[in-house]
Amino acid sequence: MASSAVALPRVYEERGLLSWLTTVDHKRIGILYILGAGFFALIGGLEALFIRTQLAVPNNQVLVGEAYNQVLTMHGTTMVFLVVMPVLAGLGNYVVPLMIGARDMAYPRLNAFGVWMFLLGGLFLNLSFLLGGAPDAGWFGYAPLTAKTFSKGTGIDFWILGLQLLGISSITSSINFVSTILLLRAPGLTLNRLPLFAWTTLVTAFLILFAMPSISAALFLLFLDRHLGTHFFNPAAGGDPLLWQHLFWFFGHPEVYIMILPAMGIVSEVLPVFSRKPLFGYTAVAYSSVAIGFIGFTVWAHHMFAVGLPDVVNAFFSAASMLVAVPTAIKVFNWIATIWGGAVRYRTPFLFAAAFVALFVIGGLSGLFLAAVPVDWQVTDTYFVVAHFHYTLFGGSMFAIVAGIYYWFPKITGRFLDERLGRLHFALQFIGFNLTFFPMHFLGLMGMPRRIYTYAPGLGWESLNLLATIGAFILALGFVVFFANIARSLVAGERAPDDPWDGHTLEWLTSSPPPPYNFARIPVVHSRRPAWDRKYTGNPHARPVAEIAGENDRQEGEDAPEKPIHLPAPSIWPLVIAAGLTVFALGLVTHWLFIPIGILLFAVGLARWATQPLFPEAASHS
């Protein structure tokens, strides 16, 4: 590639801490997202183990009352906002620009700001453990339990402001994804050829943009209620606690799809590659993602069937919720049809992706019980629901995320994750997961409510709870193996070629890891599987015609004269602005002195950001 006629850009300080703090490269930002999510996953996982330890036997005393509620709340909040969402944002950041043949995200500095806001927002939330107690009202924070009267400490304030900071991060990253995917696709890459992971990331970004304002507004009103004496959620003064639930779930249910759609996208990439077939029913799978996104905004009150809404309202939301099952089923059938008739290779990414389908089906089917109003009156707020959403979010999202990490690890690092450890990890995670969460269906049916820190003996709940706890530790062991595999493979993993899996999409056309500018020449796309079709031309049974030969393997349209590549300059100011907002939030909860410091950091960062040219060498030419 070095012999290329293309003017390769100057690469800014590639090494050292400073280069990471100032990076605007979507790949490094993606890695930061993933590492941050991995760190918070350790915390959230430990919290889960504490919960399961407490519930292993009746009347246990490991984690009681207030402490349990804090850990419970932080487990949910962490897994949703600090693990699943950011790791998907991280994979999206790393992979989507490569997949669509872009050099970077549309707004590189905004992208950097997003990741810093996520990392600092996550630290801010967890700081609450050290500064007077974590939030304790559940991840949904129902009013009026969150009112000052009932939650006097600062935990709820950390929760409100932490989620606001994280919301800012999500919104900026979504704006970036929408712009990038709609505007920066390689020539020939029409929406009708867009890889499914990019499709689902696009739909997810729209969901975040429309859902996030609802919770931001609700959190803002709650903050006013707590500190300025307003009464939005205070029934004694004419407010309404149900207003909170509507605002929260108008965000909260789309949030579920925000966490599952990109995961479905990953699976829609992995299954075809390891079956050596195109995705079956591409159009149906892509459009069903859009359909899930739309219908996802009309189902929120199925979380509220027991609040006393009129029957007709409940029936509407029941029907809408069942309707979501149609596009979901379409996906499942198409995934199975993708494997059907393929040449399936049992590599670790495939195992996790296939397990995703198997487990997500269970989560989807148990969801039907929750959509049926009279059954929901019985099982809502029980362990049946806990089982259901862990089958969708862990059996679903998390299995797909792990599949994606095994799949793209060679692209990101140039090394494979170890296959034998990978299979051990898979076995532990699959068995541990089902042992933990399958019994919870029965616990719910047997009358065990969720979010209770203890239970009496003699209700028939003992053995299943113990089983679930044993499963949780097996599951945890699986993640120990996973992290060990990552650590080991980073230094001693088998070297991976540029296209280790015989891939379909553009990211496999560039080197592993890719250069900062991704592609020396932007590839031109003629089909849905541009990488595959360069290897297997014409005859669907053809053997590979050529190894990937970088830019020599030019396709029609790629021999046009290249323009010089300009990469955006690194900048510290996104980090400074994110730090300013975080310090400001800290001031609102702890000492007022942090407020002016935060504002100062924010203002200086903003001013410097605005005056620093994005492309210094381009600016100096003019």
């Binding site: 339990l145 079956f280 069942m322 049809a337 008739g341 399936v344 397990a355 198997a358 009156w377 029965f442």
Partner: protein, 339 residues
């Protein structure tokens, strides 16, 4: 081969667990659980029937889909890593079939859902009214037509419908007695209606189902379903004013109760104690449990509770009052006498 064995092992284990758990569950729940699948009320039965109906459909879909998936994964494993299979991009007939089949199945489930809702939603006209108020962390039951106020134990006559008006004094709670039917949220500032009817005498476990603070797990309740005659006797007893203490120790307990903080929160009808914060204690001696169903109502447990309530129910709004052992013994004697 090792690969396929690894995957098959996972599936086999999973299958074994799948078989084991229903076994454990069936023996467990038949014996002792407040299971929603062991309903004793018309509404609970309708809900359980709908559950089993959906279970039948989803179990069929589950078996079908997992079998297809497993078959595809096992059958189409590549023997030669360089095999390139036929490149099938899709099939419109298949897409239309599974979309239609799914939609039809869901339409049937929704129709049954609607039918069950319509059949169970409105309380019968002759239902006995009871007002249920959730408090952090106990339940208050008022029988407006009978002039009775009690706590944590709802006593109802067998076979007679009861209309519950459910609300809350503080945060959101949720009233739930699984064997008597679905739950209803207790929301401050709102009055929700729930009706239930128990067809079998007995004691049914229930508890708060909405996270309501520190002792959410300790907010339990019991529904005692009794015969008509027993209910009449219970009503008579509850409507009587509080028993006058007779024994000297109980009289001493009366003095302690009236002179300490107790009166600020509790009501005992016919005495100066008219507090409204805590449970009405007029007939506390007649209840089978104390502390929102956490403890059997025995003198020893009552003494433990009076000594240090937050040790038993964390966060309890009844603080540790610093009572002496003598005062506690006297109070126990008095409260136990309030049959």
């Amino acid at each position: 081969m090792a690969r396929i064995r690894g995957a098959a092992r996972g599936w086999a284990r999973w299958g074994a667990v799948g078989l084991l758990i229903p076994g454990v569950w069936l023996t467990g729940c038949a014996a002792q659980s407040p299971s929603i699948l062991a309903p004793v009320s018309p509404k609970g039965r309708a809900e359980a029937e709908l559950f089993w109906f959906i279970f039948l459909i989803t179990a069929g879909v589950f078996v079908l889909v997992e079998t297809l998936l497993l078959y595809a994964v096992l059958r189409f494993r590549a023997r030669d890593p360089h095999t390139v299979p036929p490149q099938i991009h899709g099939n419109n007939a298949l897409e239309i079939s599974w979309t239609t089949a799914t939609a039809l199945g869901l339409a049937v489930i929704f129709a049954m859902t609607w039918r069950t809702m319509a059949a169970t939603s409105a309380p019968p006209a002759d239902a006995m009214p009871v007002k249920v108020t959730g408090h952090q962390w106990w339940w208050e039951f008022e029988y407006p037509t009978l002039g009775i106020t009690t706590a944590n134990e709802l006593v109802i006559p067998v076979g007679r419908p009861v209309r519950l008006t459910v609300t809350s004094a503080d945060v959101i709670h949720s009233f739930w007695v699984p064997q008597l039917g679905g739950k209803m949220d207790a929301i401050p500032g709102r009055e929700n209606t729930l009706w239930l009817q128990a067809d079998v005498e007995g004691v049914y476990h229930g508890q708060c189902a909405e996270l309501c603070g520190v002792s959410h797990a300790n907010m339990r309740l019991r529904v005692r379903v009794v015969s008509d005659a027993d209910f009449q006797r219970w009503v008579e007893a509850q409507r009587a004013p509080a028993a006058q203490p007779v024994e000297p120790l109980a009289q001493q307990g009366y003095q302690v109760f009236m002179s300490k903080a107790c009166v600020g929160c509790h009501t005992i009808n016919g005495t100066p104690a008219q507090g409204k914060v805590g449970p009405n204690l007029t007939h506390v001696g007649s209840r089978t449990t104390i502390a929102a169903g956490l403890l059997e109502n025995t003198p020893e447990n009552l003494a433990r509770w009076l000594d240090n309530p937050p040790a038993i129910k964390p966060g309890s709004l009844m603080p540790r009052l610093g009572l002496t052992p003598e005062e506690i013994q006297a109070l126990v004697a008095y409260l136990s006498s309030l049959k």
